[in-house]
């Protein structure tokens, strides 16, 4: 096929991965990593200008455009953050250059996998891409090769594999459902074809398929009770990876889920996917909210907050309707930006304090004002307080739900409230009070973090009409 933006977002990371695997010296590789990520971002943005036509394997439409740009953007900022982060890790000798080389290669490989999953027009291809993303992240989670890291990686790996297997089974079932209608062969797996004929598929097959896909990809999304891998993987891996996991990988899995939800929604005879998603979303939200309270590891805490927000997002999409879908998309975007920014902050904090244990850090706003207030800002944003973006999305989710399903909204609201309590309970000890632990300044760059916050802040106050239009189109697409 011809080389256009679509293939660009795949080729650049792939090439970069190979190159980085070959090159020594972390400074160079880190820079290359940033450059590659930036180029990918540019190509992704160009998708908006010239829309390449989608083929049997690759596809670009309003839905995945949003995801791709988000992914590449956060990928880029994270690569900037990771450059300074990794530099520090090497200084303190937590990582050896060989591992850094491996790390950067994997980073790009992960980018490649996620982009592939997003642009894949073929459900089989999508599945392969997500599996690949999982494997790469597994390797990166285990990269410190400490006791905890290996265990987290192992847990992630086993649970992830099972998830993958379930997802595959679902995919096969979808194919089986499609085959009698579409006919044998490739086209029974091509998304654009499926979506047009979905109404004629066998509902029973679709139902079973959706159950498997929900559980399979839901594991990746981190929905309770399939979430078990998520907190540890976030806590033990290198922080840039935690940022990417929370900010991107969960979204990619969610994206897959959404695709199949659309498929099912188009089939009148099949079960409505909404209630299932709503239930799992609510469970995740409430559960994670309560789990926030007894966390002692700062990264694990924010991992649980990711679960909570994924719950909210899935809930929103489950509710459906233009407003709720819009809210879900908005919430997803805002959450990606905010959460990754928080992880940037947390990464620097952990490096300053030399630990991730909340008990050993305190009074950050006194000792490291930028970091401390950055974290406060992040928590304020993630807790859904105005004037930051998440407030808007939560406002839309809750208010639009309450008019339709009061009790669900009440449950959701209580979850949000409980989560807020948990987050601020910890924030108080981390950011305020008497300083605890080492208080040296970190020389890292806070630019990525504050860029994210700036965007989230701006979105909370003013959303450019173009963006709104795009989101609304996608919301309509999602039905």
């Amino acid at each position: 096929m011809t080389v256009d933006a679509l293939t660009g977002v795949l080729l650049i990371p792939a090439a970069a991965a190979c190159l980085l695997a070959a090159l020594p010296g972390y400074r160079l590789t880190a820079r290359l990593n940033v450059v590659a990520a930036f180029m990918t971002l540019l190509t992704a943005v160009s998708l908006f200008i010239v829309e390449p036509r989608s083929g049997a394997y690759l596809l670009v439409d309003d839905l995945n455009k949003v995801f791709i740009v988000l992914t590449t953007f956060v990928g880029f900022t994270t690569s900037v953050f990771s450059a300074s982060y990794i530099g520090h890790e090497i200084e303190i000798g937590r990582l050896t250059p060989t591992f850094v080389r491996f790390y950067h290669a994997m980073y790009q490989a992960l980018m490649f996998a996620m982009n592939l999953a997003l642009v894949a027009n073929n459900i089989g291809l999508m599945w392969v891409a997500i599996e690949m993303a999982t494997l790469t992240t597994v390797l990166m989670v285990g990269i410190y090769r400490t006791h905890e890291a290996l265990e987290a990686a192992w847990k992630y790996f086993i649970l992830g594999s099972v998830g993958i297997a379930l997802a595959l089974f679902g995919t096969i079932l979808v194919y089986m459902a499609a085959r009698p209608v579409v006919g044998e062969g490739l086209y029974a797996m091509v998304w654009t074809v499926l979506i047009t004929r979905a109404a004629e598929f066998d509902p029973a097959l679709l139902n079973v398929a959706f159950v498997f896909l929900l559980l399979g990809y839901g594991t990746k999304v981190g929905l309770a009770p399939l979430h078990a891998w998520l907190p540890d993987a976030h806590a033990e891996g290198p922080t840039p990876i935690s940022a990417v996991l929370s900010g991107l990988l969960l979204n990619v899995a969610l994206y897959a889920l959404l695709r199949f939800k659309m498929l099912l929604a188009l089939n009148p005879a099949a079960i409505a996917p909404g209630p299932l998603m709503v239930t799992m979303g609510l469970i995740s939200c409430l559960f994670a909210a309560f789990m926030l309270y007894r966390r002692r590891d700062i990264k694990r805490m924010f991992a649980y907050s990711s679960i909570e927000h994924m719950g909210i997002i899935v809930f929103a999409f489950g509710m459906g309707g233009a407003l709720a879908n819009f809210a879900g998309l908005l919430h997803m975007t805002m959450h990606s930006l905010t959460k990754s920014a928080i992880f940037f902050a947390v990464g620097h904090i952990a490096q300053v304090k030399g630990t991730q244990k909340i008990a050993d850090m305190g009074g950050l706003t006194v000792t490291n004002p930028l970091l401390g207030w950055g974290l406060v800002l992040g928590v304020v944003a993630i807790a859904g307080l105005p004037p930051l973006g998440i407030f808007m999305s939560e406002f839309l989710v809750v208010s639009s739900t309450f008019a339709r399903q009061p009790w669900l909204a009440v449950i959701l609201v209580s979850g949000i409230l409980v989560a807020l309590g948990g987050l601020f309970l910890r924030l108080n000890t981390i950011a305020f009070g008497e300083p605890r632990g080492p208080t040296r300044q970190s020389d890292a760059s806070y630019v990525p973090m504050f860029v994210h916050f700036a965007i989230v802040f701006a979105a909370g106050i003013y959303m450019p009409p173009a963006l709104v239009l795009g989101f609304e189109n996608v919301a309509k697409l999602l039905g």
Partner: protein, 221 residues
């Protein structure tokens, strides 16, 4: 689809795959379990080959070969060696006794039948039956994973689950990427096995018993 003989044979093979899954469930020795798994893979290979013949899709033969060589021979031997190397004690520790496990398995099979036979008959019966069996194999594999304590037996459980997948994939007539998928899965399994062996777990735990792996549970209580 040609005559009912093909159908019967495919049916037979798929059914026997389920049967072998059941056999796995009541093993209490690791070596025996490995052998049964080899048998499992063998049956799978046969049924894949048969499908290849039925659908005259040559690429499926490749899958069959992979199943035969990789799953029926390489993996079991590797695991065998690991058991010897790591000196894992040989008997399987079960969570629920064999009897209940079997009953559960029955229930699962029944469940998968019920779920799958709702599928309207337009989807050809071969696929339908195959899917029903595949689903029960998958579920049995999962059951195995959750009712066994040893990592090795869990791995075996996972692999039989995956066999179920391949069965389904090959049963799905003309499904593209089957080979790729089976290859990808073999890679996955290889990773697991390597994980057990090379993933430095040996250095840190004197057994691969998953509980020992979990003895350190992320966040200390």
């Amino acid at each position: 689809m040609r005559g009912s003989l093909t159908f019967d044979i495919a049916h037979l093979l798929a059914g026997s795959l389920v049967l072998v899954s059941f056999m796995q469930l009541y093993q209490d020795r690791l070596y025996a379990l490995l052998n049964i798994y080899a048998l499992h893979a063998l049956v799978l290979a046969a049924s894949v080959a048969w499908q290849a013949f039925v659908q005259d899709a040559p690429h499926l033969y490749l899958t069959a070969v992979i199943a035969l060589v990789f799953k029926a021979i390489v993996i079991p031997m590797a695991l065998h060696r690991i058991i010897v190397r790591l000196g894992i004690h040989r008997e399987i520790e079960t969570v629920v006794g064999v009897g209940p496990a079997m009953l559960l398995g029955m229930g699962l099979v029944a469940l998968s039948m019920v779920v799958m036979l709702r599928v309207t008959a337009e989807a050809d019966p071969l696929a339908r039956e195959d899917l029903a069996f595949a689903l029960s194999v998958v579920l049995l594999g999962l059951l195995m994973m959750v009712t066994r304590r040893n990592a090795v037996s869990q791995v075996v459980g996972f692999m039989s689950l995956e066999n179920g997948l391949v069965l389904a994939a090959t049963g799905a007539k003309g499904m593209p990427l089957v080979v790729e998928i089976s290859v990808a899965f073999s890679v996955l399994i290889a990773f697991i096995v390597i994980g057990i062996f090379l993933f430095r777990i040996r250095e840190r735990f004197d057994t691969v018993d998953v509980q020992a792996l979990d003895r350190f549970r992320g966040e200390r209580r």
